[in-house]
Amino acid sequence: MEEFTVIGKRISKVDAVDKATGRALYIQDFKLPGMLYGRILYSKYPHARIIKVDTEKAKALPGVVTILTGEDIPPIRLGVYKDNPPLKSGKVRSCRDEVAAVAALDPEIAKEAIDLIEVTYEALPAIFDPEEALKPEAPLVHEDHKTNVLKMPWNLHYGDVEAARLEAAFNVQERFTTTWVTHCCMGTSGAIADVDNSNNLTVYTNTQIPSLAQKDFQETLKALGVKDRRVRVIKPSIGGGFGSKLDTYAYEHLAILLAWHARRPVKILFEREEEFLATSPRQPTVTYISMGCDREGKLLYRDMSMVLDNGAYTSWGATTPSVMMMPITSLYRVPNVRYTAKCVYTNNTYCQAMRGYGNPQATFAIESAIDMLAEAADIDRVEFRRINSNRPGDVTPQGLRITSCGLPECIDAVSKNLDFGQPREKGIGTGLASLIHVGGGARIYKSDGCGTMIKMDDYGKVDVFTGASDMGQGADTVIAQIVAEELGVKVEDIHVFHQDTDICPWDVGAHASRTTFVAGNSALGAARKIRLRLLAMASKATGVSEDKLVLKDRAFFAEGSPILPLPKLLRSSHFTPKGQMMMADNFYDPENENMGRDFRGNMSATYSFGTHGVRVKVDEATGKVEILDYIAAHDVGRAINPMLLDGQVHGGVLMGVGYALTEQVILENGRNMNPDFRDYKLLTAMDAIHSKPIVIETVDEKGPFGAKGIGEPGCVPTAPAIANAIYDAVGVRIRDLPITPEKVLAAIKKKKGAVSCGIDVFTQKEQPCE
């Protein structure tokens, strides 16, 4: 096995000291001279015509500098479907629609001004159920779109599902639903926009896509009639991302528009309530699944259809089927697959990427149904998964090429520990579920690339300028480790810059668990270029041939002894006639493929796998579920930093547990009823579970030092593992997330045939006991 000095070590995050001493600056902490404070007025109705917006009183308020309404701004359309203006005119389509924006001398004045704006609405019939929105008589959310169904047809059919269905010995057919959950980044959203006298724009903002945000902001400048000016995006420390910052939001563009009009910097900072109301949650789904296997338990087909509640506008939530296709076609070997998904406009909030990007929703249905099918076939649930496990060398029906694959090892690791050494007791049960996820980038755009520049100074200190974005996950640390290993220096010799588009190269963004793989490979390539030059120079200086030289610990070694300190060599290269600078750049774009018209294509250069096992206790009187033990086995290729890796798994798992049990954005007729941490029930340290991560290293040949992505997988199989454990414990199958005590209790009562089976949480009506 290769010996590494930095790779595979539990190294502290490079920004941990600043964060633990309060020095790290977040958007909350930024203030520019002359800065104004912006605030947004949101719609009072989920669907209404705007008759009049009267800003007179607000304008008269001392301290108010600028007020904008939908009529005051040029046509700007945000989002992947270009259907979302930053300020609405004519009509509002959801309660989070932006109707007006104010910039004032201080936040309180801005707030007061917002209260003084009088909007006259004419309420319109609204639609909140995506399946209802499909009906011809449903009100149209966008009249000019002619239909509520987005023109994004997601259908694939590989093999012959109907033929396989006839062939199958055992079948299951089920309906599952998931609802809105939201990122709950601890640091709320915010942006500062600053336009200089030459109309160059600087935006300080929390974003996971600095390069793409730059382009979006450029578009807004263009709409204002400004062309060919610089747009600079500066990223402060970010208080959590989880996918929420993969698009630009109206508030960022409103900060720009306000700053443009006021000719002063404008900051918009969300309060917590606004963060809940006006950022986009995870895409909810209604899923129909049928699946069948032969007598031996081999999966023969999987047939899934979904209706997605798109909300009133379109961001990345609508494209989550592109990633759902991966588990649907490729989690376990399944030769015949069919999938269709419709995204439907409603007057609800619109959705966004969130850790797992559709994968948790799809995997909830698949892995719940796998347990049901195993039971129908009378095959042990672990064995059933083993029989169907993906293997290295597989090409799945969608054309995903499985290279390294540790799924069998993950299943083994979990099954060995699934009883957690505990005897079986009443009300206690265990469950497991697996996952596949992109681990080698994901070609969503034409490019899946990332750039890196590296410069080394006289003393062996290294500046790395990366396109990658860190929002707490440790991208900067992993990149520092990769570069340090390659250049034979220490992590503390490395400074990673990722905060500023003026100095950092291009990247498509921190999504799809791609950063370690793509930005890591990009940094590795740049470092390698310098390394080769250093070796050549050192060989020349020492007379030792390059292949006998080892670069590590800030020196060149020959036959185990240091013979030339690295700084000395670097200085000599500067202080020599015709000297050279140690600088290099690299653009890495993985060898993955865009999906074709039939949605086939190897979207990632490699895939990550994992299996989770959980032991739960169900209180049969209250329906409350307690998690007793949790184990999470992941095939990560190679753990570059086991400590950060554990952190991703622990955090992902708890987010998954929240998704499974407690979290939901409650919308009542399109209005958020729980926009605060009291009623949006994130788990606390007292509820937090004891989760044990197990790392399976398969050393992927394409990954930087063998690594694959692990950012998202932790929260993917959690919900089905828990649902399966609840079934094992008390014999009830919950098909709708979150699995709240009232749902569990109602199911238990129903099963026991009790007189009162409680209320159906969906219909809000008494449900009959069977």
Partner: protein, 342 residues
């Protein structure tokens, strides 16, 4: 989130505080820990012109035991009550109820027992920001004339009392001392609550709660507090119950039960005293009957004032009642030596 403007007063003794209270009358709120009041002020639910801080009134923070009562000053910090040694052993129900409030580092070092008892009622349609509320008609509690929590609307406010300490203290027969500049009165804690959602306390504008008197324990009595919440911390109860029983080792002599988080005030289930009286200890059927009575009593008050479904909360009244009564009984049985221990 910024607070609205007010004047801040920090009286140095109780007389000064009562004097100020008398002078300000309606335009004034008492600031203890601030964990309830300041949030409501930030949301624009209340905008008192004047605040009277209890910060300097150490006389209101005392905790001591006399021959007849455990006396707790209204401004005693929750953390100080938990740390007061006798509480955990002798008033376990009270100890449990305080532990169940919020989370240690949020409320316990700031929050006071008086604040917990005097907190305002809550409702998912009321405890929201101004912009949330502006999108609807003004509800009864906010000075309007409708109730969103009551099916079909109501001319009454159907908010819910979420004090965790009130149910157990009432069940144990606690009294409270209420003072104004003019007079001092001691009333059963129960009578502090008006059961009127709009203004859930019976305190006059010039009055303040100064002390809580919890009767000392007698041999054969036991108390318990049960709270069902979705999380282990920072959560309001779905249902809570305070139970107090007195046994002679074989039979129930006395029992009282108060349900929290279901009605406009702590809900005393008066009928269970008769139901349980003279029944053998450990009589499951008796407990079942009591639980059913509690559930039926609670059902009449249940409104859609929390995010959890009404039907589930109603069912849970029975479950939590049983648990509280059983635990209190168990404690009563192991409590023969209380008088000796003293």
């Amino acid at each position: 989130m910024r607070l609205p403007p007010f004047t801040y007063n920090r009286p140095q003794d109780l007389d000064e505080a009562l004097e100020l209270l008398n002078a300000y009358g309606k335009d004034c709120k008492i600031l203890a820990g601030g964990t309830d009041l300041l949030v409501r002020m930030k949301q624009g639910l209340v905008a008192p012109m004047n605040l009277i801080s209890l910060k300097a009134l150490s006389e209101l923070a005392e905790i001591r035991e006399t021959a007849t009562d455990l006396k707790i000053g209204a401004a005693a910090k929750l953390s100080d009550i938990l740390a007061y040694q006798p509480v955990q052993g002798r008033w376990p129900g009270l100890f449990e109820s305080i532990k169940a409030i919020g989370a240690p580092s949020i409320q316990h070092f700031s929050g006071t027992i008086g604040g917990n008892l005097c907190q305002d009622n809550r409702c998912q349609f009321y405890n929201q920001s101004r912009s949330f509320r502006r999108a609807r008609q003004t509800c009864n509690k906010a000075g309007g004339s409708t109730c969103f929590a009551w099916k079909g609307g109501s001319d009454k406010c159907h908010s819910v009392c979420q004090s965790d300490t009130a149910p157990i203290l009432i069940a144990m027969g606690a009294k409270v001392v209420i003072k104004s500049r003019q007079e001092t009165r001691a009333i059963p804690l129960e009578e502090l609550y008006s059961s009127i959602g709009e203004h859930p306390l019976t305190l006059g504008d010039n009055e303040m709660l100064t002390e809580i008197l919890v009767p000392v324990r007698a041999p054969g009595d036991g108390s318990a507090f049960e709270k069902l919440a979705y999380r282990s911390a920072i959560d309001y109860a779905v249902v809570s119950a305070g139970a107090f029983v007195q046994t002679d080792g074989n039979q129930m002599l006395k029992a009282s039960l108060v349900i929290g988080a279901v009605a406009r005030g702590p809900l005393t289930i008066a009928t269970i005293e008769k139901t349980l009286e003279d029944r053998p200890v450990g009589d499951e059927q008796a407990i079942d009957e009591a639980a059913k009575e509690a559930m039926n009593a609670a059902e009449a008050f249940m409104a859609n004032n929390m995010t959890q479904p009404v039907e589930y909360r109603t069912q849970m009244v029975s479950v939590i009642t049983k648990r509280a009564l059983k635990l209190a009984t168990k404690r009563a049985l192991s409590n023969k030596e209380v008088s000796e221990a003293k």
